[in-house]
């Protein structure tokens, strides 16, 4: 059809239905991938990290669910009934050994759940103590990291976004806390807080958790947020110069909105990586303190305190030291390797 330059006449050929071959051209070959999906895919390719992830999940699930159906409890002294010692053969059993009472029960044809790891000197089933200790250690590690994350993220993003004098003051404080020898301060603070908290907690809900764990959380909140704050401040410092922040500011957004909606989501990978690596270090610190006798309150076990208690009778019952020690090492090792894998997968700068 002959077409005039300024004519409003429509070219009817443009409106012919697409042929099949043309339609095929428009079909999406595969769904578009987000950064998160990409990273997860990269993570799954890393065999070491995936294995470690499954080990962690397995240990966590076991720590949560095994105490629910296991016939013994972590504080139950099996040889005692109503405060009186009834059967001393329950004490110091080696793995898979049975006490006299249980042997008579078994002879009578009843089923007795074996003491997989034996019992300790007070006749408590050691397996459930290890499981419970794992539960405590994992919980402490997890919550301590969350505390560190929240405090570090808040302060770091404020310092980074506000800049100027606020940033200067916050960063000087961070510098000082950062150069404090952390372990010494942790030991000092937790040994004192333990005494202070004991009186203050009586009768409250928190008393159940125990003064030692709470003081541990406080110490983490006071000392360990600094590296997280530094990291996030550095990220935000560069991110706030981006155009979308300017656009948001032009649209009238306030600082809080910009930080929460724009800046923090963009620090996502840094946050995930450092939180994942914070958990093993928190578990490590907890077990270290428990080993020095500053950890969880007795009779609650943690892996560190189990190892510490076992040290006294180590020549006669080495397995009691080896088992919690192996569990701690396994947890810390797999969390570290998983964290490394996470860093490789989520850090776009390393992506080549």
């Amino acid at each position: 059809m002959d077409k005039k330059i300024f004519s409003a006449q429509v070219n009817m050929d443009d409106f012919i239905p697409a042929t099949d071959s043309e339609k095929e051209y428009m079909v999406q070959m595969r769904p578009s991938s987000t950064f998160f999906k990409d990273s997860v895919k990269r993570l799954l390719k890393n065999k070491v990290a995936t294995t470690c992830f499954f080990i962690i999940v397995f240990i966590t699930l076991a720590a949560i669910f095994v105490p629910m159906f296991w016939p013994y409890s972590y504080e139950q002294m099996l040889g005692m009934q109503a405060g009186k010692a009834t059967d001393n053969s329950f004490n110091n059993l080696s793995p898979f050994e049975y006490s006299t009472t249980e042997q008579t029960l078994r002879a009578a044809g009843e089923k007795v759940v074996p003491h997989i790891f034996g019992t300790d000197s007070q006749g408590r089933d050691y397996f459930i103590r290890v499981v419970y200790g794992t539960r405590i250690s994992l919980a402490v590690g997890f919550f301590a990291s969350i505390i560190v994350l929240i405090i570090g993220m808040t302060i770091g993003s404020i310092a980074g976004y506000a800049g100027g004098r606020v940033d200067l003051i916050i960063m000087r404080i961070v510098d000082i806390i950062y150069s404090l020898p952390d372990m010494l301060m942790v030991i000092l603070l937790s040994s004192v807080l333990k005494v202070v908290m004991e009186g203050a907690l009586d009768g409250t809900v928190l008393a159940k958790i125990g003064s030692n764990i709470i003081s541990l959380f406080i110490v983490f909140g006071v000392l360990y947020w600094v590296s997280m704050a530094r990291l996030i401040r550095g990220q935000i410092l560069s991110l706030r110069e981006q155009e979308y922040v300017l656009a948001s500011q032009a649209a009238g957004a306030k600082g809080k909105w910009i930080i929460l909606k724009h800046l923090i989501p963009n620090c996502f990978s840094v946050i995930i990586i450092s939180t994942a690596l914070q958990i093993p270090s928190a578990i490590f610190t907890e077990s270290y303190l428990s080993f020095l006798g500053l950890g969880v309150n007795a009779p609650m076990p943690s892996l560190g305190s189990l190892a510490c208690d076992a040290l006294n009778g180590v020549s006669s019952y080495p397995s009691r030291l080896v088992i919690p020690a192996l569990v701690i090492s396994l947890i810390v090792l797999s969390l570290n390797l998983f964290g490394d894998g996470l860093r490789d997968a989520f850090d776009p700068k390393l992506d080549t």
Binding site: L180, P181, V314, P318, L321, N336
Partner: protein, 309 residues
Amino acid sequence: MNTKTLMYIVKRVLLAIVTIWVVITVTFFVMHAVPGGPFTGEKAVTKQVMAAMEAKYGLDKPLGTQYLTYLKDVCLHFDFGPSLKQRGRNVNGIILDGMKTSAKLGIIAALIALIFGVVLGSFAALRRNKLVDRIIMVMTTAFVSMPSFIMGSFLLIIFAISLKIFPANGAARNGLFLPVVTLSLYPMAYITRLTRSSMLEVLGQDYIRTAKAKGVSGTKIIFGHALKNSLIPVITYFGPMLAGIVTGSLVVEQIFAVPGIGRAFVNSITGRDYPLVMGTTIILAALIVIMNLIGDIMYKVVDPRITLE
């Protein structure tokens, strides 16, 4: 050295001084926040005796005055006052006594870690992705993940209890062997990894290729060209290494019953010997801070390429 470096050094020294002051202050006030004085619960003491005791140790004065006196004693005279639990001894004496053993332990452990770490790290880098490298990397990963108290316990079980090669008591003859090994394994593993990665980086540099092209022999390239530059990151690890050895020695001395400063510290916490707790904390903290400072400054001086913020 230019002005920028000088400024940096001044800044770092100031920061170190402030840090030590913060440590002293925090330690002092934290220790005095504990409910009940150091003498409560010891024996049933009459009020007069208690008052006399408090007067003797200056505990009856206002907290601010006590703080200033303490600060003056510590900073000007290096005097940490008398021990409350070990009658007739002062904290300085106890710390000095403990330091003799602990310093020996720590220095030997640090040297072992440094020597073996650098050698193993370079070795792993040269045999990259070969079997030796793999074995070294797996071992170091395991050592890095194993807390020192667990390492110590394992060594105790294996070498002192099962095989009976070394004594379990640190005060005995050859008794320092196992504690030294325990303390050195973690920093050794860390230095190995550090040296390996920086050696790999250095080996990829142009000047190494030039040296190779000139026909310089392998050993000469390593010792004459590569090693010096690949050791720079190791310098920054000096401070953290000392901190690790100090905190490690707290438990290691406990496990092997070594009569050192770490054991004195832990015992003073459980025994509520406040002046001793403060004294050891401040001494150890100052040691770590100063070591960090030296490490940082050396890092800057050794490698002028490093730009500071």
